[in-house]
């Protein structure tokens, strides 16, 4: 019972912080829409091209917005000592990581289900393709959240090289990008196979992320 109470308390705290800091989240989404605009300006308004590469543009921008949320994951809680307090209230670090992943998925990835159709209309993508982007995003967004969490936990004590966190996110999300964007080029029959591969990657990352992140967080707290 005590564990459940503390889990609920952490959830409430996270949502409260998000609510009080809402312009931060909104500017991340504005970044996404601005990115779509920049792509339109740099390629030139041509509907046929956007229909083909729209999914690539959207996935690239999702990756870049994930890079922006890298520091939100653990850095603030680590700096003011909240992570230790969570741990002292009887939760293991693995559970804290899992809670953080769920909260960040709800707060940062759910609004993309509204943003993706909007950007799809801006780019004049066909309805069927938007549906495919939806499916790939539903399976791919937990993976990108897990990857961001790994990168954030690894770079807690990193004060010298700020780009390396984004590099880790990018190199780990290459398989996600390949299989998500590959969905649009496959035939109807092989789509099931691609979705299965994506689900496999998702479950792999859901399994290893709490373990990897808790090792890094424990190390950072020991050596601080």
């Amino acid at each position: 019972m005590k564990t459940i109470n503390s889990i609920i308390a952490i959830f409430q705290r996270e949502f409260k912080i998000t609510y009080r800091n809402f312009s931060d989240i909104l500017s991340i989404f504005l970044f996404f829409l601005m990115g779509v605009m920049i792509f339109v300006f740099s390629i030139g308004a041509n509907d046929d091209i956007f229909n083909q590469i729209g999914i690539g543009i959207i996935w690239t921008l999702i990756l870049l917005t994930n890079n922006l949320t890298l520091r939100k994951f653990y850095q603030d809680d680590f700096n003011d000592g909240s992570l230790v307090i969570f741990h002292l209230s009887g939760l293991s670090y693995e559970l804290i990581v899992l809670i953080k992943i769920i909260v960040n998925w709800l707060v940062i990835q759910i609004p993309f289900f509204i943003l993706i159709p909007i950007s799809g209309f801006l780019l004049n993508i066909e309805f069927f393709n938007i549906k495919i982007i939806f499916i790939s995003f539903l399976l791919g967004s937990p993976i990108t959240t897990c990857i961001t969490s790994i990168s954030g936990a690894m770079n807690l004590l990193n004060k010298k090289n700020f780009a390396i966190g984004s590099l880790i996110i990018m190199i780990l999300s290459i398989p996600v990008i390949i299989f998500s964007v590959g969905l649009i080029n496959t035939s109807e029959e092989s789509m099931g196979a691609q979705i299965n591969i994506l689900m496999g990657i998702m479950f792999l990352f859901l399994a290893i992320t709490p373990w990897v992140c808790s090792i890094c967080i424990k190390l950072a707290i020991q050596e601080k």
Partner: protein, 230 residues
């Protein structure tokens, strides 16, 4: 076998074998080069460019082997708290990066006359390029922490996570339809390569492995010395 995990025993053991290893690697390399340039035939389709293979294949093999060794040592270092594992990982990473770079460059020199392009976005080529980026990120990650204890452990975690790429590289030619050909000497009993070409290839592979081993031993010794006298 304690020299594999104990720095002092490693130093003692490698003091004995380092010089013979260097001489042996030079002799094998020279013999291999003689075989490559004078005693192996031209390919009936590729002509003389087939000789690039004798550099390309051994360096690709070593690029993968180095990452595999790094993964093993990182896992040992994290699981059994063996500091020597982290020493090996950080000492060996630049060697693997160099061999990957050699593999990519010779591959593109080979690809230009044979396929008509320097580079294609093919599964095997892309995954090897990702391997190079993994090596570079490992090197950068190790240098981006002020505390060496944190740096080596975080790097070890990243090496283990990044080792997912290894089976993808190995089996990319079997899983996807690629321009790159599948492995020719995966089965030693009946290789799909002529013996006159197999002989220099095996000699060069042995030579490259010995050179890599010698450089790795020197780098590990330097790393141990550096940590002792900091």
């Amino acid at each position: 076998m304690r020299f594999l995990i104990n720095p002092n025993r490693f130093n003692k053991f490698t003091d004995l074998i380092l010089m013979p290893l260097i001489y042996l690697s030079i002799i094998t390399l020279l013999a291999g080069l003689v075989f490559v340039f004078y005693l192996s035939p031209n390919d009936y389709l590729q002509g003389s460019t087939v000789r690039i293979m004798y550099i390309h294949v051994p360096s690709a093999w070593l690029a993968l082997l180095t990452f595999f060794i790094m993964t093993l040592y990182s896992a040992a270092g994290l699981a059994f708290k063996i500091p020597f594992g982290f020493i090996v990982t950080s000492a060996v990473a630049p060697i693997g990066a160099t061999f990957t770079l050699i593999c990519l460059i010779t591959g593109s020199f080979w690809g230009k006359p044979m396929w008509g392009t320097w580079w294609v976005w093919d599964a095997r080529l892309t995954s090897v390029a990702i391997l190079l980026f993994l090596y570079l990120i490992i090197i950068f990650l190790k240098n981006s922490f002020t505390n060496i204890n944190v740096a080596e452990k975080i790097t070890a975690v990243f090496v283990i996570v990044g080792s997912i790429n290894l089976p993808i590289i190995k089996f990319s030619v079997d899983w996807w339809n690629t321009l790159h050909q599948p492995a020719s000497i995966s089965k030693l009993s009946s290789p799909s390569i002529d013996p006159s070409m197999l002989k220099p290839l095996i000699l060069m592979t042995i030579a490259f492995t010995l050179i890599g081993l010698a450089i790795a031993i020197m780098r590990i010794k330097a790393e141990i010395y550096q940590r002792k006298h900091r």
